[in-house]
Amino acid sequence: MSLILRDVAVADRQGRLILQDVHATIPDASVTLIIGRNGAGKSTLLDAMSGLVPLCRGAIHYDDLSLWQEDRLNKDVIRSIGNVFQHPEQQLFAATVEREVAYSLRYLGLPKDEVERRTVTSLERMRLPERLRQETPHLLSGGQKRRVALASTIAIQPGWLLLDEPTAGLDADGIAALLEFIELARSLGGSIVIATHDLETLLPHADHIVVLHAGRVAAQIRRDEMPHLADILEQAGLAVPASLKLTDMVRRSGVRLDSSCPSPRELADAIVRAYDMNTRRDPTPVFRSRQTSSSEALARPGPEWPSKAFQPDRVTGEASPMPSFLVRLDPRAKWLFYMLLSVGILIQKHGAGLAAGLMVAGMLVWYARVPWRPMVKLSIPLLVLLVASVLVSAFFGSGSGFRWQLSSSWRTVFELLKIWVVSLLGLTLAMTTSQLMMKQAIERSLGFLQRLRLPVGAIALGASLVLRFIPVLAQEYRRFSKIVKARSKDRLHREGIGLKQLPPMLIPLILSLFQLASDLTIAMQARGLRSFRAARTSCYQLRMTSADWTVVVLGLLLFALFLWADVVLF
C-alpha cells in the first residue's frame, strides 16, 4: 500500500516542463522528505500528488486507486489527502476557530455531531484550550493561529498528509509544535510527505527521501541506505547538513554506527570508542597536544572569504528583448509621440485612413517587439465587445425592427478598431518605459503643481509601485486560491475558483496584501525615504536629446499627415 508515481510530467502555464520522467514509490505509514534546490520542482510535485495541477503525462496511484480517471479527479482519493501549505497561519478566514475547522470538514458532508466531535478532538490534539473555540482566529497569537490551521488539517483525518516547507520562518516553539504534529500524524497511521530544505530538523524523523534535480528524480533513499545520503547530496550539488557531515566523518574513520541518523549522544559515544582505539594503538597521545596548539586558530578563524567562487544561477529568460533605442528615449518624448499619433488615428473617418493608422501602429508594435501574450490579453475583451456591439447595433441599430443594419454595425466596428489600435500603442509605450523613468517624467512634467502644494512626488512613486506590485499580487492570488481549492476540494485542477470560495480566498488575500504594504512602507522608510520635500536625486537624468526631439517632430508630422489625409484626401 503506497503512493506510486509513474512517468509523471507536469508543465507550467507557458507549457515548459517543470517535472518529467518522475518515477517514485512512496511507502505509506511513513515520513518521506522531498528535497532539492529551489526550482527543482518540489512544490509542483506536491501539487501533482494533491491533484492541484493536471498531469501532461503519466499516472499517480494511491494504493490501487488512480488519482485521475480520464480527466476527472477520483473523489475517494482526494478526500484522503490533507495539505499543509507554507505559513498555514495566513490561511485563516472564519469568524471563530470552530468554524475554521468546520470549513475544512465541509466537503466530507459529515453529520453535525461528528463535525463537533472532530473539531473538539483535533483542537485538543493540537493542545488548544477549549475556551478558544469561540474566539476569532485573527486575535490569536502567531503560534496559536498555526495550531488552528494544523488542527483543521488533522480534523479531516487524512490518510496522506502533504506539507510544503513547513519549517520555513518558524521559531523554536513553532518547530517543536510542528515536529509534535508530524509524530502525532504518524501515530494516527498517517503517511506524510514533506517538501523541505531543512534536513537538519527533519532528517531524524524521515523514513524515506526523494531527491529532485531539475524536475527529475535524482535518487530515492530508504532509511537503511541513509549512510550514503551525504554522498548522494553532494553529487546532486545539494548542501549537506552538519549532522550528516559529522556522522559521515565518524563512519569513514572506521567506527561502526548502529543508527543511520545517530543522536549527538550516540555519535559522541562512537567517537569516544574510536578515540580510545586510536590512543591504545598509539601509546603517545599526540592528539591532545596537537589539539591545544590548534585551539587558538580555531577560536579565531582566519579570513576564509572568499572560500568558494560563487556562481550565480543563470538568469532565466533574456535580459531585455526591447530595442534599446526605444527604451532609452525620454518618456516625455514618447508620450507626446503617442498622443499625437493616437489623436491622428482617432480623428479618421474613412476606411483608408484607419488602414494607414493600422499600418503605422503595426510597424511600431513590430519594431518594439512587444510580446504577443499581453497583446492578446488586451485584445480579447475589446474583441468580445466588438462582436457584442456589432450584434446589438446590427439588430437594434435603426430602431425599426430586426433589419440588418450594415452601416450602423460598420460604424461600431470602425470606432472599436480605432480604440484597439490606440490601446496597442499604449501598451507599447508602457512596455518600453521603466516605471521609475515614468515616475520621474511625471514628477518633472507635473513639477509646477508642487508649487500648489500637491504631493506630486508621492503620487508618482505610488503610481510606479502599483505597477511594480502587479506580479506580486498575481502570485499571492494564486497562492491563496490554491489553498482554498485544496481545503474545499473544489475545482482542484482548474483555473479560477468558485463563487462560494471567494470569502475564504479574499479575506486572507486582503490581509496578506495589507501586511505586504505595511512591510514595504517600513522598508522604504529604512532606506531613507522620510519626506518628499527633502532633497532627492534621481538615477535617471531626463534630458530631451536630439533623438527625443526627432521623435516629437516625427509625431507632429504623422499627426499633420493624418489630419491632411482625413480632411483633404478622402
Partner: protein
C-alpha cells in the same frame, strides 16, 4: 582598545494602547552597539525583535527612554526576510538607486556604487536585469546590495535567511563575514542558532525584555549554557561538542560555528 559607540539605547520602552489595554512590546532595553561590531539578535515570534530593529533604525517612536546615535547613523537600512516586500525598482539598478536617491547621492556616483555593491554580493553585471527574472535567493542578494550601496555605518538584517535554500543561505552568511572583516557595524536578527557564531555578541529577546547579552562562546558553553537554559534548539554540531566534552574530549576548545565544530571533530577522527 575601546571602540566608539555607534548607537546606544537607554531604558527604551515601546508600548501600544490597544483600546484601554496597554501592550508593552519592548521593556526597559539598555544596549550599546560599538562601531564595527556584529550583534546577533535572537528571539521568537512576538518577542519584540522587529520592534527593536525598528527602534535602532529610528522608525518607531519610544514610549520611554532614549536612543543616542552618532551623527552618521541617521539612516539605517534594514534587509527583511521577504524580498518582495522591500524591492522598489523594476530592475536591479533601479532598486539600488532608490536608497541612493533618498540620500541625495549625486547621479554620476550611482553607477559606481551600484557596480561595487553588486560585486560584493557576487551579482556583477546584473544592473539591467529585471527583478521578475531573478530567483528568490538572487532577489535577497539584490536587497543586500541595495543596503551596502548606501554606505551607511550601520546595516540591520531582519531574518534575511529565513526564506532561502541552504545554498543561498550560506552565500548570505559569506557576505555577512565579508562585511564584518570590512569593519561594517551589523545588527543581525535570526531564528537559527547556526548563525549566532558569526557575531561578536548575542542578544536574546524574550517577551520584550533582554534575557541575555554576551559573547557567542558564553552563550553556548559554561556550567549552565544560556542556550540550554533559555530553551533553544541547539544546533547538532554544538550539541555533539557538548556531549564530547561531557566525556572528557575537546574540553579546552569552545567552537561556536558549524565549520569550527567540524574541524574539531575531524581532528578526533583522522
Amino acid at each position: 582598545m575601546e571602540r566608539p559607540i555607534a548607537l546606544a539605547l537607554h531604558d527604551v520602552t515601546v508600548a501600544y494602547d490597544l483600546g484601554g489595554e496597554v501592550r508593552r512590546v519592548l521593556q526597559r532595553i539598555d544596549l550599546e552597539i560599538a562601531v564595527g561590531e556584529t550583534i546577533a539578535v535572537l528571539g521568537g515570534n512576538g518577542s519584540g525583535k522587529s520592534t527593536l530593529l525598528q527602534v535602532i533604525a529610528g522608525l518607531t517612536g519610544l514610549s520611554r527612554g532614549s536612543v543616542q546615535r552618532q551623527e552618521e547613523v541617521s539612516v539605517v537600512p534594514i534587509v527583511f526576510q521577504n524580498p518582495d516586500a522591500q524591492i522598489v525598482g523594476e530592475t536591479v539598478y533601479e532598486d539600488i538607486c532608490f536608497g541612493l536617491e533618498n540620500l541625495a547621492v549625486p547621479p554620476d556616483q550611482m553607477k559606481v556604487r551600484a557596480r561595487e555593491a553588486l560585486a560584493s554580493v557576487g551579482l556583477s553585471g546584473y544592473e539591467d536585469v529585471p527583478i521578475v527574472q531573478l530567483s528568490g535567493g538572487q532577489k535577497q542578494l539584490v536587497c543586500i546590495a541595495s543596503a551596502i550601496a548606501m554606505r551607511t555605518p550601520l546595516i540591520v538584517f531582519d531574518e534575511p535567511t529565513a526564506m532561502l535554500d541552504p545554498d543561498s543561505r550560506s552565500r548570505v552568511l559569506q557576505i555577512l563575514e565579508q562585511l564584518k572583516h570590512q569593519g561594517q557595524t551589523v545588527v543581525w536578527a535570526t531564528q537559527s542558532l547556526d548563525e549566532v557564531g558569526y557575531a561578536d555578541r548575542v542578544v536574546v529577546l524574550r517577551g520584550g525584555e533582554l534575557s541575555y547579552v554576551g559573547s557567542p562562546t558564553d552563550f553556548f558553553y559554561g556550567a549552565h549554557p544560556p542556550c540550554i537554559e533559555l530553551g533553544f534548539r541547539i544546533p547538532y554540531a554544538i550539541s555533539l561538542i557538548h556531549e564530547l566534552q561531557a566525556r572528557g574530549l575537546l574540553t579546552d576548545i569552545r567552537p561556536v560555528r558549524v565549520d569550527e565544530c567540524l574541524e574539531a571533530v575531524r581532528r578526533l577522527c583522522p
